[in-house]
């Protein structure tokens, strides 16, 4: 990572600095379960033989999570970190993507109502778009930062004023979360599998109630009928805000994702009228 101007870099990271501000970080608990990916990988290979849209493990995880979320709607709601919840019936999954020096975000909308091919197609196009525009975005933000010196403090001030206003107006708070959803979706999946990361921990931030971290696929030795066998496994790490949910509730959700991945023909179906 080469940063030519630290202040430009900070300006680019403003949204992340704000996201992880003390006020937004909740009491985080992480719970991990393991998924046998044998069936999912076979299913992916079969799909990739019959279609020219390349389906990745990440696409399958997005779909499996979207379908599982139909049974756990609470986890798509927004929580303000105090005593208010803001419901939604949308399952829009946000996936951070690696765009070099920049963090790209893809939002796949209505995941439960889409087929795995539609999701695969959207992620590929989105990823290409992020990669193509990333450098341009970095340069544009650097220019703005240099031209308008007071922009960063002005953004911080406006955001803080909004924060104070939301203490007194539920409607204002609802409007802010609505805009947040439009930009950031309703659920986050962070998949570091491609980078070879086999475990990771991060704090939960409001308005999320649960987020999903996904590790790389690893080979695990098992003994079956006296024979040693290798199976591919992936770790699903559920990150939860303990004020609003518990480990048991979250693990039930993780187990639904696991079931969808271990029985992919049924679990990765497009859901209608849920």
């Amino acid at each position: 990572m080469n940063i030519s101007d630290p202040q430009d870099y900070i300006f680019r990271r403003l949204h992340m600095i704000r996201t992880f501000s003390e006020r937004r970080v909740g009491p985080t608990v992480l719970a991990t379960i393991e998924v046998n990916m044998e069936n999912a990988l076979k299913y992916r290979d079969e799909l990739n033989k019959t279609s020219n849209i390349h389906i990745s493990v990440n696409d399958m995880i997005i779909k499996a999570t979207g379908n599982a979320l139909t049974k756990h709607r609470l986890f798509t709601w927004a929580y303000n970190g105090r005593y208010r919840l803001f419901p939604t019936d949308k399952i829009d999954i946000r996936v951070p993507v690696d765009a070099g020096d920049d963090l790209g975000l893809l939002v796949i909308r209505d995941v439960d109502k889409k087929t795995i091919f539609e999701i695969g197609n959207e992620t590929k196009k989105g990823l290409e778009n992020v990669k193509n525009t990333s450098q341009e975005r970095i340069e544009r933000l650097a220019k703005i930062n240099k031209r308008i010196k007071l922009l960063r403090p002005a953004i911080t001030l406006i955001r803080n004023l909004f924060d104070i206003a939301t203490l007194f107006s539920k409607d204002m708070e609802e409007w802010i979360y609505e805009k947040h959803r439009e930009a950031m979706g309703t659920f986050l999946i962070s998949n570091l599998g491609k980078l070879g990361v086999n475990d990771f921990a991060s704090p939960i931030v409001t308005p999320s109630i649960v987020q999903l971290n996904v590790s790389s696929i690893e080979k695990k030795m098992v003994l079956e009928n006296g024979e040693l066998r290798e199976i591919p496994v992936v770790k699903l790490i559920g990150k939860l805000d303990h004020r609003i949910t518990d480990v048991a509730q979250t693990v039930r959700f993780l187990r639904d994702i696991k079931k969808n991945l271990e029985e992919p023909e049924e679990g990765l179906k497009k859901l209608e009228g849920v």
Binding site: T28, L74, K235, V251, R255
Partner: protein, 271 residues
């Protein structure tokens, strides 16, 4: 969960307050694996006893006993810490264990766990669980109704909670009394067993006055080569979370080793 946002918030009001940022501790988690087959054999043997007919022994009961015995040796982990500069000693070991009853976790406290036999622990645990199952719906309904229907009064209670949370640390006698009252409902040390849920790893958030808590993970089969033949052995994951302000990883590791030892040699340390 078919509940309105307001009902969910009312149900979880106590938990939201408990996990208030003023109560949260800088939590570190360390992990260890314990060879679990001796404990499973002990469980099977105890369940053949006459006394187990009244209430069956589970692995969880043996773990509770093993933890209580380790706490006897390292009683510091049973003390209360105010999150600043005071520690309140606590010699009575009352282990609490949360149980999953659907929408809301319920905590079961086993008073003086170290002084009870595994049969007694099992009996008390099951008796309290039945009692809780019977009353949970009515109690929760009452609590939610109070929050939603008697808004004025509940706002006063919430205001008092907010004030007390900030004022208590200034008055040690009040804080000590508050911790003692809390012991009735949440005991002095928490053991959470997530093994049945298939959780292989967990990092928690510790809240005051706890100094440490034990998270029990699922059992897993580890394949090793013995005499040129593959052999599968069962191990239990243990995770200890602790407040880094008052405990270091080495001390916590030594305490966790004692729990592991008690689980691996239950006949010697748990009977």
């Amino acid at each position: 969960m078919n509940k309105t946002p307001e009902e969910i918030i009312s149900m979880r009001r106590l938990v939201i307050d408990r996990f208030h940022r003023l109560n949260c501790a800088p939590t570190v988690t360390i992990n260890m694996d314990a060879f679990i087959e001796p404990a499973l054999q002990l469980k099977d043997r105890l369940n053949q006893d006459e006394r187990a007919k009244k209430s069956r022994i589970t692995l969880n009961h043996i773990i509770l006993k093993a933890t209580a015995m380790a706490l006897r040796e390292d009683i510091f982990f049973n003390y209360d810490y105010d999150g600043k500069y005071r520690i309140y000693p606590n010699d009575r070991i009352d282990i609490r264990t949360p149980v999953d009853l659907g929408d809301f976790p319920v905590h079961i406290v086993i008073p003086e766990t170290d002084k009870k036999s595994i049969f007694e622990i099992s009996y008390v645990f099951n008796e309290r669980l039945e009692e809780v199952k019977k009353n949970i719906d009515t109690k929760m309904k009452k609590y939610v109704d109070f929050q939603l229907k008697r808004k004025g009064l509940s706002s006063l209670v919430n205001l008092w909670t907010e004030f007390a949370r900030r004022a208590r640390p200034l008055f040690p006698a009040w804080e000590k009394r508050w911790f003692e009252i809390q012991h009735r409902y949440i005991g002095t040390f928490m053991v959470t067993n997530m093994g049945t849920l298939g959780v292989i790893d967990c990092h928690g958030q510790l809240v005051k006055p706890s100094i440490a808590a034990l998270l029990v993970l699922s059992t897993r089969d580890v394949v090793s080569i013995v005499d040129n033949k593959p052999l599968s052995r069962k191990y239990l994951g243990l995770a200890l979370e602790f407040d880094h302000r008052v405990v270091d990883a080495a001390e916590a590791g030594r305490f966790l080793q004692k729990i592991k030892r008690n689980i691996e040699e239950p006949e010697k340390y748990c009977l």
